[in-house]
């Protein structure tokens, strides 16, 4: 694995397409499996992609590009996790409610997960996807109990 300043390497449209295709492949693999935990590799791939977009401060802009690329009507300020999920899953199988739940769980993980812990372990430790989505709403949603940047374990 290489570490290199990526800001000097542009993220081309072809690269965006390749990343979305990779996530779509992960989604299809999850769909093909009967394992209850099969969704985690897909969610991990979404999490990793948006996390590095966030790291570069370009998540919203790239979410816009992804929505546009996939022919979705883009909103003014798309939520990046939800946008990437919309672009890489079947909207019939992943409805608005599920997408919102996954997006909230991933945003919660983005805020509180330790970099060395896997997404699957973190979400399971916190009680599952539903619990993480609910925790997001309580701690980071419209009426948060605490500030958005205070870490907890």
């Amino acid at each position: 694995m290489l570490t290199r300043e990526s800001a000097i390497i542009p993220f081309s449209t072809e690269a965006l397409k390749a990343n979305l295709l990779r996530l779509q492949t992960e989604w299809e693999a999850a769909q093909a499996s009967r394992d209850r935990g099969a969704i985690y590799p897909y969610l991990t791939a979404v999490f990793d992609l948006v996390t590095w977009w966030e790291q570069e401060g370009r998540a919203v802009k790239r979410a816009h590009r992804a929505l546009h690329l996939r022919g979705h009507q883009s909103v003014r300020k798309p939520e990046p996790f939800a946008a990437v999920i919309l672009c890489t899953t079947d909207p019939v199988k992943v409805d608005d409610r599920t997408r919102s739940k996954w997006s909230r769980a991933l945003r919660y993980a983005a805020e509180f997960k330790d970099p060395d812990e896997s997404l699957r372990d973190f979400i399971r430790r916190k009680g599952g996807l539903n619990a993480c989505a609910a925790r997001f709403a309580r701690r980071l949603g419209r009426n948060p109990e605490i500030g958005a940047k205070s870490k907890c374990k």
């Binding site: 694995m1 290489l2 570490t3 290199r4 300043e5 990526s6 000097i8 390497i9 542009p10 993220f11 081309s12 072809e14 690269a15 390749a18 990343n19 295709l21 990779r22 492949t25 992960e26 990793d48 996390t51 590095w52 790291q55 570069e56 970099p115 060395d116």
Partner: protein, 75 residues
């Protein structure tokens, strides 16, 4: 790294005396690998953006290795 060094040599040889800096050639190579779906960026445990092979490239290399092992056993 061997993969990277080969690409670096190829890039140098193909440019008729134009010697780009190693970092620039390396960056172009990474961008090409990313666009072709062979490399991806990620945030490492130190919070820095790194690069790694995509699952599809890793699978492809694993298949090649298994094929090579199979060929060796057939000899």
């Amino acid at each position: 790294m061997e993969y990277a060094d080969q690409a670096l040599d190829a890039a140098r040889l193909g440019r008729n005396g134009v010697h780009k800096a190693r970092d620039l050639i390396f960056s172009e190579m990474l961008a090409q690998l990313e666009a072709s779906g062979d490399a991806m960026r990620y945030v490492n445990s130190h919070g820095r953006i790194g690069w790694k092979a995509t699952p599809s490239l890793r699978q492809y290399l694993t298949d090649l290795e298994l094929d090579a092992q199979g060929d060796l056993e057939d000899i």
